[in-house]
Amino acid sequence: MLSYPTVRTSLIFLAIALVGLLFADIAITANNPWRDLGNFFLGVLTPNFFSSEGLLTALLRTVAFAFVGVTVGGICGFFLALVYRFLPVRVFCAFIRAIHELFWALIFLQFFGFHPLTGVLAIAIPYSGIFAKVYSEILEEADPEPGRLLPPGTGTIAAFLYTKIPDCWVQLRTYTAYRLECGLRSSAILGFVGLPTLGFYLETSFSQGMYSDAGAMLILFYVLIATIPLWVRPKLLPVYIVGAPFFLGDGLPIVWGNVERFFTEDIVPSPLRDGEGLAGLLPWLNELMVEQALPGIWNTVILTQIALVATGILTLLLFPLISNHFGGPIRRTSGHVFLVIARSTPEYILAYILLQLWGPSMLPAVVALALHNGGIIGHLIGRQTNTIRLRSDAPKGLNRYGWELVPRVYRSFLAFLFYRWEIIMRETAILGILGIYTLGFYVDSAIQSIRFDQAMVLILITAMLNIGVDILGRYIRRKLALQTMPTC
């Protein structure tokens, strides 16, 4: 077994995570976590849809922000994809997508305030970077032969419209639809920093112990995502896209003086601002690194590695739930429901709920990340096993799982896992806002105490860390010759 590079890589990552556990802060600190959890589930079972009209407004705003943000991001991303072969464009896109939506929101909040533009840009900017990368990958896959056969003198635009777009249309559409679903999740969690979407409503209900209200919100959110194929129809799309900007709410007007001050004063490192010059910059940076950045990076990396391995283990446990190689239709249906819930719930919301119930530690974050990502990969792997035809005398039960299925799907399982490595790290950093000591915690604290200069440096460091993990993940996938389609 050890002679397989995939097995060796898996064991190395397992060992790193186990060592990480020694340093990680894993505990349940709440006085009575199970009672709270019970109350929460009682709330989900007895949802209260009518407590206030705020719920429907929040739902409407969530959809509106998602549509406007994804549309703007999609259009910008498409044009960026056309020039993606230029290195500066690729670096720029890698940079803007390495910064999480919530970080973008925190930045824009400082100078645009609670204006709808804050929420729209927070989604549109990172999504542009993601769209640019994936669209360009899809366009590259198009068959080059028809383009070579065009008569010389054919315009570039006509050639593009006739030979590239039709060939990629289905994939472009599928990916954009998937991103819209992600956009709904992103939009929902923007509420946690104060924008008028579902997250805001959830946080309010939770902090007041109104679990039935929170339950109603979660149920509506699942219904919203599960019914996307019903209400997002090609014919209705123009209506949504044109209409969405009118439902973003008014927010508060932009004070342009704030915008100017943010760029000319707030984010200038304080030694420069106070006239200490470059001599003061080094100690300032040193202090920032030692007291905030390094502990933040350490915790982010540890939590990411533990969450990555936990995701992997959970995936291997979950995929049989929807695989038609095991059990009957009832188990598969409930398996589907469970996986849909796990992957539809943004990890941020899962972590928030578990953190409220279990108290602050890394445990809620690990469980939330593993549930969400395990749900996504488990779903993909489970579906993949359904295409496998086994010989009719193949073993059953645990033997079938261990000897027939896992070896067949292990490579694509690893491919998906390493693909999501960077995503898990981005989320880990952001979960700091909830009070876990990852980079997001230090960013949030810096912003709370109006040290925007430090916050910007920390956000930059977070982006670099994400880009680094992305490169490493890609290197490992190439080394192991693992391939994925950009659908996860």
Binding site: E145, P146, R148, L149, P151, P152, I157, A158, D167
Partner: protein, 216 residues
């Protein structure tokens, strides 16, 4: 430009020479059949000629090069994308103009598949797809036809019909064929390729089928 005179034609794959160096002169009115064993380098030669004449030819490659997601009409229309402004081509993508529809329909009628005008090429059979690529070459209407096994997926009567059509529509052509009988019937000059070199080059009326068989 109807004929061409190309010299120093060479091609290598992985350091190994597969074609040439050879010289090929085609006059206006030459209807050349390229014959030879598979792997002799016929397809490579067709590609080479296509590149050397700067695309001033109607090409039917072996892989056809169709855009599968587009209907037959648009695949054929692509043969004249250079003749129209970008806005015209863009509108055509959504809603074709009447005169273009008529022209393309006439061509498809000649190829006996007019009922397939709006069918995506992905859902056509191999022979139908081949005829779409031929229709595109006809619509392109370049002075020279370069075709690589254009009738390989067509049944007997249809193959004869298509070869007849190509002979009538293109005064000058270079067609790679593995069927010697077809080559003798529809082409006025036979060029035999062996080991990447021209092993035979004669007018058809001075050849017997047995002369060609020595190449195989």
């Amino acid at each position: 430009m109807a004929g061409f005179d190309l010299s120093g034609l060479t091609a290598s794959f992985g350091g190994e020479r597969v074609i040439g160096p050879l010289t090929l002169k085609v006059k206006e009115g030459d209807q050349v059949a390229l014959v030879g064993k598979s792997g002799a380098g016929k397809s490579t030669l067709i590609r080479l000629i296509h590149n050397r004449v700067d695309g001033q030819s109607s090409l039917v490659p072996q892989e056809l090069g169709l855009v599968n997601a587009l209907p037959v009409f648009h695949n054929v229309f692509m043969g004249q994308l250079d003749k129209h402004a970008t806005w015209y081509n863009t509108v055509t993508l959504v809603r074709p103009f009447k005169q273009d529809r008529k022209q393309v329909l006439e061509l498809l009628d000649a190829l006996r598949m007019s009922e397939k005008l709006w069918i995506p090429t992905a859902s056509l059979s191999g022979g139908q797809r081949q005829r779409v690529a031929i229709a595109r070459a006809l619509y392109r209407n370049a002075p020279v036809l370069l075709a690589d096994e254009p009738i390989s997926a067509l049944d007997g009567p249809m193959a004869h019909h298509v070869m007849q059509l190509l002979r009538d529509r293109f005064e000058t052509s270079v067609i790679a064929l593995h069927d010697v009988e077809m080559a003798m019937k529809y082409c006025n000059r036979i060029v035999g390729i062996q080991n990447g070199q021209i092993a035979l080059d004669e007018p058809t009326d001075q050849l017997a089928a047995a002369d060609i068989m020595s190449l195989y």
